[in-house]
Amino acid sequence: MFFKFSLFLSLIIFIIGLIYKISNWFRYKIGIGSVEISGSRRFFYALQGIFATLFSLRIINLLKSFVLDVLLQYRILREDFLRWVMHILIYGGFMLLLLMHALDKLITAKLFDSYYPTLNPFLFLRDFFGILVIIGIIIALYRRFILKPPRLKTNAMDLYAVIIVAVIMLSGIFLEATKMVAYSDYKRMVEEYSGLSDPNELKALEAYWVKEFGTVSPNLKEPFDERLLAQGEEFHQSSCAGCHTKYQSAFAGYGTAKLIHPIGIRIDQARIPHLLWYLHVLACLVGLAYLPFSKMFHLFSSAMNLLVNSIADKEKLREANQMTRRALELDACTHCGTCSLRCSVAQTYEEIQNIYILPSEKISAIRSLASGKSLKGEELRKIQEGVYLCTNCLRCTVVCPVGIDLQDLWFNVREMLLQKGYPEFLILSPLSYYRGLMRGEILIKDYQNALLQAREAILAQCELMREKEKTIALTPPDKKFQSGLGLSTQAKNFSVCFGCQTCTTVCPVVANYENPQEVLGLLPHQIMHAAGLGLRDLAFGSNMLWDCLTCYQCQEQCPQGVAVTDVLYELKNLAIQYVKEKRS
């Protein structure tokens, strides 16, 4: 009764959870072109796509991917052998246990007439599969806590996944072991199946079981008389052997039973087998009910994503399906950290304490964004900085073991965030090269706005730029700024500039304009002067600073050896730092 009730309850939660999670794939909107398409329409398009695939040659790709990526997990193997061993042990062992043991009535018993869980090979296999999973879990813990691959973060979901699987496996093995030693279980079985009533006959059978099966009897102790055992064996053969192979095959349970043998009677009296049964069953059912909301959902979502990945041609996918796919991808992420291990800019995390620089950590933030959760401004800024601090090198996408097109996610989320209007100063760096190449995908208005926002936000902190007629004192107005320039030794020498204007003369940017000052503000030699005079606003607020090619013509040709380009570089650093501080 308890079992049935809780099974149905957890099944219902599981199914509702599954429906909820899958419905999210059609509700979440991630994409710059995310036009208003209803969820049902997206569902329809997805179905259409699936059917089109099933009746085309692409089905071969699908099957290939199912075997290679889903079953054999080739993509994990390619990345890291130890991790592959770990994952295949946990996943393989668990799936086999699920099919053979948990669903025995539905599957194993139907396939094998002679199925009985206490007979070989099933008795052996159950333990064997369980041990595979446990070895896998040990490797997982070893990797996470001893080997510690760089930047592998452990969150609550990761811990939960390890714990639930470990509890299921260990409770199962202990349950088996305690049942082996439990005298009351033995007695119950004898009463039900043996049909013996003569105390001498019962004693013979009990002696045999105590010796051969490790039952801990409160009445009998080894050694036994040979004849008694021989008699016991006879009864065993006629009443028990049909369903009971010797326990040694269940090596994990048997070994554990040996260990707990000395306290076997107390274990039985305390009804430990009974409690372990509840623990085992409850752990399985909790695992089932919580599955759609936990990391374990990747059983479905990652497999699904790998399959979609094998057939979906991104170029040809309609926008509705791309949005659906991105939502699926968010669920497919297992937080394995491979992307963060391979990320080209992950080392910057050492200097900028923003966890969202790491790709594996961006995903959860994007999931919150997509679910419509309202995030604080500060949080949004961090996510925006995190997704912008990316060289778009594609490494994360290439290595992702579940085939998430991370590059595409970053690109879309980046644009969606930029449209929210908070200026992103990273946009004024060559990190924007990729955005430039992708400009055709972005509405021109949005494309330009994001760039303007950043420049305007800087200009807004540079008062002097707006008061061109203002007279200022000859002494440096901001000595601190003037002396604080030298981030590196090379950039300290701007004050030796004698104003020959060579830098400005050779600058290809200046040369590009008929009236350069109108467009660029201060020109290179004037910026050197501004820096020398401590006129921060003029140095920071000039477009010249952000329109510098860093081609080093000026620096190369400066007769005074001023490191003009390097000074400009470092002024940019200072400007961003200054404006950020002012704004916050």
Binding site: P150, R342, C343, S344, V345, A346, Q347, T348, E350, E351, I352, L389, T391, N392, C393, L394, R395, V398, Q407, F425, L426, I427, L428, S429, P430, L431, S432, Y433, Y434, R435, G436, L437, R439, G440, L451, L487, S488, T489, Q490, P508, V509, N512, W546, D547, L549, T550, C551, Y552, Q553, Q555, E556, A563, T565, Y569, E570, K572, N573, I576
Partner: protein
């Protein structure tokens, strides 16, 4: 000869033909390339944002090569410039070195300044040598006029990058000439390709790119030749975008140096990825003749 190949962020993602052609050419010339998967971004795009991040990024790569006792070969001129710059600064300043090493120490790395940093072109010219290249050549170009684009970050600042004479460089021209092609003189040879501003100020970037290509064309070039992913993408994909936006046809097709050299070394054009360029370059094969059939 062995190098740690520093592939950078752009090439594998957007310019596969550069990687495949460079690998093929170098292997033909007996160079073994070692891939270090742990390499990160050289720090170039981060220099605008934070000097320290740039320095750490470059230093980490140098330390990784150092750990394996390898010299670095870059295909990208911006990577070259950044690594060189960081190397220069770290050698010059003990305090910078100490700061960086403090962070690197956490992963068991240390910058000591051992590895040499080479660009593909300098390795071809100085380490492999023109003679060796000539020896391996099976074909030569005839009546082909090529405009070499040096790229800013290998030439300047010259006391840091130490690549070639910053005013009258000749290294690239010699490498082109060895294939039989004529390396033309053009006034804007040493100018910037415009790439650093693409994505930041597209109008300005486009102006500079087109101005330069126009100058190359007017100077009689059939192709502009590059050896840097930024320059190449700028002259290829961005030129295409720019010319369609400004209602013009493209001015000058751009070929990567290892593509140009690869053909004369007899490497299959599929491996060289000739078809992968946005602006077609396969016409260049018409200028190719077997060595020995010269007139």
């Amino acid at each position: 000869m062995e190098f740690a190949l520093f592939i950078g962020c752009q090439i594998s993602a957007r310019l596969n033909q550069y990687e495949s052609s460079a690998r093929a050419v170098l292997s033909q010339l007996g160079v073994r390339l070692i891939d270090i998967r742990d390499f990160n971004c050289c720090g170039y795009p981060l220099r605008n944002i934070e000097f320290k991040i740039f320095l750490l990024s470059s230093a980490r790569n140098l330390a990784l090569a150092e750990k394996r006792n390898l010299n670095i070969l870059t295909l990208c001129k911006c990577c070259y410039g950044s690594l060189k710059k960081a190397d220069y600064l770290l050698k010059e300043s003990p305090s910078l070195r100490e700061g960086v090493n403090k962070i690197l120490e956490k992963e068991g790395l240390k910058y000591k300044g051992e590895p040499q940093i080479k660009h593909l072109l300098s390795a071809l010219d100085r380490d492999i040598g023109l003679d060796k290249i000539k020896e391996k050549m099976v074909k030569k170009y005839r009546d082909l006029r090529v405009a070499t684009h040096y790229g800013c970050h290998v030439l300047r600042p010259s006391k840091v990058v130490n690549f070639d004479d910053p005013i009258v460089p000749s290294l690239f021209d010699q490498l082109v000439a060895v294939t039989g092609a004529e390396s033309i003189d053009w006034s804007m040879k040493l100018e910037c390709c415009g790439a650093p501003l693409w994505g930041i100020n597209d109008g300005l970037s486009m102006d500079l790119t087109l101005k330069k290509l126009k100058n190359g064309k007017e100077s009689g070039a059939d192709y502009v030749c590059t050896a840097c992913p930024y320059c190449q993408i700028q002259f290829d994909k961005v030129q295409k975008m720019a010319s369609s936006q400004r209602n013009g046809t493209h001015l000058l097709p751009s070929i990567l140096y290892p593509q140009l050299l690869g053909l004369s070394l007899g490497i299959d054009k599929k491996i060289l990825g000739l078809e992968m360029n946005e602006i077609p370059i396969s016409g260049i094969e018409n200028a190719l003749f077997d060595i020995g059939t010269e007139v």
